[in-house]
Symmetry: C2
Subunit: 282 residues, 2 copies
């Protein structure tokens, strides 16, 4: 397949697959979730499995149980508090996160004027990723990118400059280790580079002006942020100041979890559903 | 004066003042510095004082000395390494940073679609600001905003959410102290709020969707970032993915210092000069 470079192509691809994923939708009592589910149903790539109960906690537990019983391929949050849903997902006995797996978050953005989709992690879940957590973020993101047809994903590891700085930014040292591991082929075919600032990851012109070399050549498919603060600022900036569309999901649990924020639009929820179903096609 | 809401008005205002600031330009041997200086000279708000020497370190020291002798109102970096210029500025005996003052960085951005200028600190200098350094960042930014005619500046203190989180984000506790101090009038007339995420600072719609109250009402003039990583991602995102113009300068030294990065455009350097001269009008 050709790499999917925008959300329209993603929806077209899913439509063409004619494979309907079963999505357990927890308490779709709000208009925005209902609209998103209707759009996805109409696009033909999912069958909603409505999970409702007067008690949000009960509905969350029921949805999680359906996944464990193999009755749903994706989980989606409706009118439930994030904490309630996460508690059900993370429950050590009855939840969905296999022991030792890391729970994190991947976002995919279509930004007007940028020629392809941009993936990033983590703008919402892990405050200060450890080296192990960062490696998992990278692996989840690579897997998602490959499900979008990107054969050799190109990923930048973000820092404010291209310099390794053990004193102020110890994670830049960890970046070097992660890149070395990637070069052994541990993560399959991919190009990982860093530390790099955001602009040198996405602008060949900025890269050349700085006079630095990078195998990403200013043409990254995605980035890993040093921490949630940097990631969140990126997400909020593109959605506040750029014309952009975004999709997001939790990675780590047995199945993709669509967990929109307060204020996410029906379109964002619909696109997140599409991304989760795409990831679940593999 | 009315608040200046875009860079065209800034240049018009400076032109109308008919006050020419003397700018010590250190080694303007590169085309981009020369273009910026020419633009500023033509706009009528500055007189360049060229400081040149075969040795960049010597030129930097000479420029700093001119400021100390009262012969220049603003300092600007041309073809000199940032480190060389900073060494001269920070020299304890012959430099420009008064004892106890904090050296930091303020950026001003005009983003297409956003109705006014947006100020922020610090995207480039202090890795992890302490509470004291953050207070200085705020004070410098307020002073700059007031020089732009913003009588009661509105500033958001950035975090990934609106929650105070002592465990993962101790700076959010410091935010509360800073806000309490602002409310005593210690910083003059201003509205400071946080922790807030970037979008709730600048979008009334996002604020209302989240269902939270903020005296900024989604209408901030500027933000303070928790650290350089978040700040730098913001700066790189708006300059890479938005149609934007930016100006920046160092704060803390006796006079504003224009210290462009590799790759900054002549326009950016010109606007930075304008901002520094504006700030020096006070």
């Amino acid at each position: 397949m050709n790499a999917i470079t925008n959300f329209t192509s993603l929806i077209d691809y899913l439509r063409s697959c004619q494979e309907k994923k079963r999505v357990a939708v927890i308490r779709p009592r709000d208009e925005s979730t209902q609209k998103a589910v209707k759009l996805a149903e109409d696009a033909g790539f999912m069958i909603p499995v409505i999970v409702d109960d007067e008690q949000p906690e009960t509905a969350a537990a029921l949805g999680v149980q359906m996944v464990r019983e193999g009755k749903a391929d994706v989980l989606m949050k409706g009118l439930v508090n994030t904490d309630d849903l996460l508690r059900a997902v993370l429950n050590k006995e009855t939840g969905l996160l296999p022991q030792g797996k890391v729970l994190t978050h991947v976002t995919c953005a279509e930004i007007e004027g940028h020629e392809k989709l941009l993936f990033c992690s983590d703008v919402a879940v892990i405050p200060h990723p450890t080296a192990e957590q960062r490696e998992e973020q990278l692996k989840y993101m690579l897997s998602l990118m490959r499900s979008f047809g990107i054969g050799t994903p190109r990923v930048g590891l973000i820092n404010c400059t291209e310099k390794v700085n053990p004193k102020h930014f110890p994670f830049t040292v960890e970046y070097r280790d992660l890149i070395a591991k990637a070069q052994t082929g541990a993560f399959g075919s991919c190009i990982i580079d860093g530390p790099l600032d955001l602009k040198t990851c996405f602008s060949p012109e900025a890269l050349h002006k700085k006079g630095i070399d990078s195998p990403l050549e200013g043409n990254a498919d995605g980035v890993i942020f040093p921490d949630i603060q940097a990631g969140n600022v990126f997400y909020k900036t593109i959605t506040c100041f750029c014309k952009s569309k975004t999709a997001a999901m939790l990675c780590g649990p047995q199945v993709p979890v669509v967990l929109p924020s307060r204020g996410d639009s029906p379109e964002n929820k619909f696109l997140s559903l599409a991304m989760a179903c795409m990831n679940s096609l593999i």
